[in-house]
C-alpha cells in the first residue's frame, strides 16, 4: 500500500535534523579513529574535515573540501550524523558532499572562500546546510538562501571563546530588541540588518529565528560550552578544542555532559575536574586572519 506520498529534501525535513541535534555537541574530526572517539564520548554528530581550524591557521594556504575517501571512512566508522564543510559559494563542493550522502553541509568561513559575493543557493539541494553568522543580519541572509541551521561563528582555531560570545550576544540581543519593536520600526530593522522584511516580522511575532541557533568557534572547555548554552545557543560545535587538548576522550565526554547540564554549576564543577591541559589558544590581537570576516 503506497497511497501516501513521501517528500524528501523539503525545508521541514532539513530543519527537522537541526531540531534533533539540539542540546548536543558536534565535534570536528579528521580521521575515522577520531570520529569513533567522538561518538564514544556522546557527540550527537561529527564534522568531517581535513585539518582542524587550529592547524589550518598554523599552516596557512588554501583550505578546501575534504577528500571524499576520508569522508566515506568517517561515515563508515560511526552511526551518528556526519557533516562536512564546503567553501563559501563553492556549490560544486556542496554537490559532491551531497552525492557522498553527508547529513549536513557546513558552508564554512573556516575554509578559503570560493566566491567573494555570493553564498550557495541552498534551496537547490536536498541536503540541509548550516551557515555561520556574526550578527542577526548575516543569519537572516543565510536563512533566506535556504540555511536550515545557523551557528554563531566565533573565531575557529583559537581556543578563545570571546568572539563566540560577541556573536551570540549580538544575534540574541537583536532578536530581543526586535521583539520590543513596533510594526513601523520593523522596516527600519530590515533595512539596518540588510535582511528580508518577512523574516524580521517573523522574529517580531515568534521571538526567535525560524531555524535553530548553535554556537561555534573557540569553545575549548566544559564551562565554555555551558556559557554558550546559557547565552541562548541550542547546541555547540567544538572544533580544535577537543583533539588539540591533552586528553581528547575525557574532554569530549565532559563537554557533552556540560552541554546537557549547562545550568547546573555543581555538575559543571564535577565534569571540569582533571581533564588535562586544554588547547593553548591564542588572543585575538595575535591572529592575522579573522575567519569570521569571511561571508557577506
Amino acid at each position: 500500500m503506497s497511497d501516501q506520498v513521501s517528500i524528501t529534501g523539503s525545508f521541514p525535513v532539513k530543519r527537522g535534523l537541526a531540531e534533533m541535534l539540539k542540546g548536543g555537541v558536534i565535534m570536528d574530526v579528521v580521521t575515522p579513529e577520531q570520529a569513533k572517539i567522538a561518538e564514544d564520548a556522546g557527540a550527537c554528530a561529527v564534522m568531517a574535515l581535513e585539518r582542524v581550524p587550529a592547524d589550518i591557521r598554523r599552516d596557512g594556504g588554501v583550505s578546501r573540501m575534504s577528500d571524499p575517501e576520508m569522508i566515506e571512512g568517517i561515515q563508515a566508522a560511526v552511526s551518528i550524523p556526519v557533516m562536512a564543510k564546503a567553501r563559501i559559494g563553492h556549490f560544486v563542493e556542496a554537490q559532491v558532499l551531497e552525492a557522498l550522502g553527508v547529513d549536513f553541509v557546513d558552508e564554512s568561513e573556516v575554509l578559503t572562500p570560493a566566491d567573494e559575493a555570493h553564498h550557495i543557493d541552498k534551496y537547490k539541494f536536498a541536503v540541509p546546510f548550516v551557515c555561520g553568522a556574526t550578527n542577526l543580519g548575516e543569519a537572516l541572509r543565510r536563512i533566506s538562501e535556504g540555511a536550515a541551521l545557523i551557528r554563531s561563528k566565533g573565531e575557529a582555531g583559537t581556543g578563545n571563546v570571546v568572539e563566540a560570545v560577541r556573536h551570540l550576544r549580538s544575534i540574541m540581543g537583536d532578536i530581543r530588541k526586535i521583539g520590543q519593536a513596533d510594526s513601523a520600526e520593523l522596516f527600519q530593522w530590515a533595512k539596518q540588518l540588510q535582511a528580508p522584511l518577512p523574516l524580521v516580522q517573523e522574529i517580531a511575532e515568534t521571538g526567535k529565528l525560524p531555524v535553530p541557533v548553535f554556537c561555534a568557534g573557540g569553545l575549548a572547555t566544559p564551562a565554555d560550552a555551558a556559557l554558550a548554552m546559557q547565552l541562548g545557543a541550542e547546541a555547540v560545535f567544538v572544533g580544535s578544542g577537543i583533539f588539540k587538548s591533552d586528553e581528547p576522550a575525557r574532554r569530549a565526554a565532559a563537554i557533552v555532559e556540560a552541554t546537557t547540564h549547562f545550568n547546573d554549576a555543581s555538575i559543571l564543577a564535577k565534569v571540569s575536574r582533571g581533564l588535562g591541559a586544554p588547547m593553548t589558544g591564542i588572543g585575538m590581537d595575535e591572529i592575522n586572519q579573522r575567519y569570521a570576516e569571511r561571508g557577506w
Binding site: Q4, I7, G16, M20, S79, T260, H261
Partner: protein
C-alpha cells in the same frame, strides 16, 4: 485528581518541541536531567534526538535506573524517534554499549529508513482516531524502522505497511516526530490515556 505533571527527558534532542505541544494542551511539563527531577512526575516523554548520546547521558546522569524502575511501576511513557529506540526491547545497528529500557516488545532498526537524504515527510492515515480522521503529518528524520512486533503490541498507524505508531500497556511510541507537527492529537491521546481531565483543546 490533580493536573498531572509530565516529565520531558531533557538530556539532548527536541525536548522543547514536546513541551510546547503539551503546554498548548494545558499540561504542565518539567525538564528531566537528574534523578531529583523525577520526583512527582506522573508520566514521561522521551524526545527525538541522538539515541546513542541520550544513552550515554542516561548513565552519567544516574537517570537510567530510576526511570527503569518507574517504567516497571507502570509510569506512562511516550517516546518519539530516538525515544522509541530507548524504549524498544531490541535495537539493530546501534552501538554495542547502547542501553534501552525494553519497555515495548519491538525490534527497531536504527536509521532504518536511511540517512538524512532519505528523511521525508508524509501524511499518515489514522484509523485509530476513527474512519473519517484527518491524516497526521509525519516528519521522519533518519528514523528508526520497526522490524519485529511482539505479542500484545498494538499498531495504531502504519506507513507503507510498516508500523509507525505503536502501543503496549502504558508505553506509546512513534518512529516520526509528532512534536514537529502542528497537530496535538497524539499528545492529547497520551494525556487522556492516564487522566480523564479534559484538555483545553477538547473543551474549546
Amino acid at each position: 485528581m490533580q493536573v498531572p505533571t509530565i516529565g520531558v527527558l531533557a538530556l539532548q534532542g527536541a525536548f522543547q518541541s514536546h513541551q510546547q505541544r503539551l503546554a498548548e494542551l494545558g499540561a504542565p511539563t518539567r525538564q528531566i536531567r537528574t534523578p531529583a527531577d523525577l520526583v512527582g512526575i506522573d508520566a514521561l516523554v522521551m524526545p527525538g534526538g541522538e539515541s546513542t548520546t541520550m544513552s550515554k547521558l542516561l548513565v552519567t546522569s544516574g537517570l537510567f535506573e530510576p526511570i527503569a524502575a518507574r517504567i516497571v511501576d507502570g509510569m506512562p511513557v511516550f517516546g518519539t524517534c530516538a525515544g522509541m529506540i530507548l524504549l524498544a526491547t531490541e535495537v539493530l545497528d546501534g552501538r554495542p554499549d547502547q542501553l534501552s529500557f525494553g519497555a515495548i516488545d519491538i525490534t527497531v532498526q536504527r536509521n532504518g529508513y536511511g540517512r538524512q537524504l532519505d528523511s521525508f515527510e508524509t501524511e499518515i492515515s489514522m484509523p485509530a482516531f476513527g474512519d473519517d480522521a484527518a491524516p497526521f503529518h509525519g516528519v521522519f528524520i533518519r528514523a528508526p524502522k520497526v522490524v519485529r512486533l511482539g505479542v500484545g503490541v498494538e499498531v495504531l498507524a502504519e506507513h507503507d505497511g510498516v508500523p509507525v505508531i505503536l502501543r503496549q500497556r502504558a508505553i506509546t511510541v512513534a518512529s516520526f516526530h509528532p512534536e514537529l507537527a502542528n497537530d496535538h492529537r497524539l499528545h492529547a491521546q497520551f494525556l487522556n490515556s492516564f487522566t480523564r481531565i479534559p484538555s483545553h483543546a477538547e473543551t474549546s
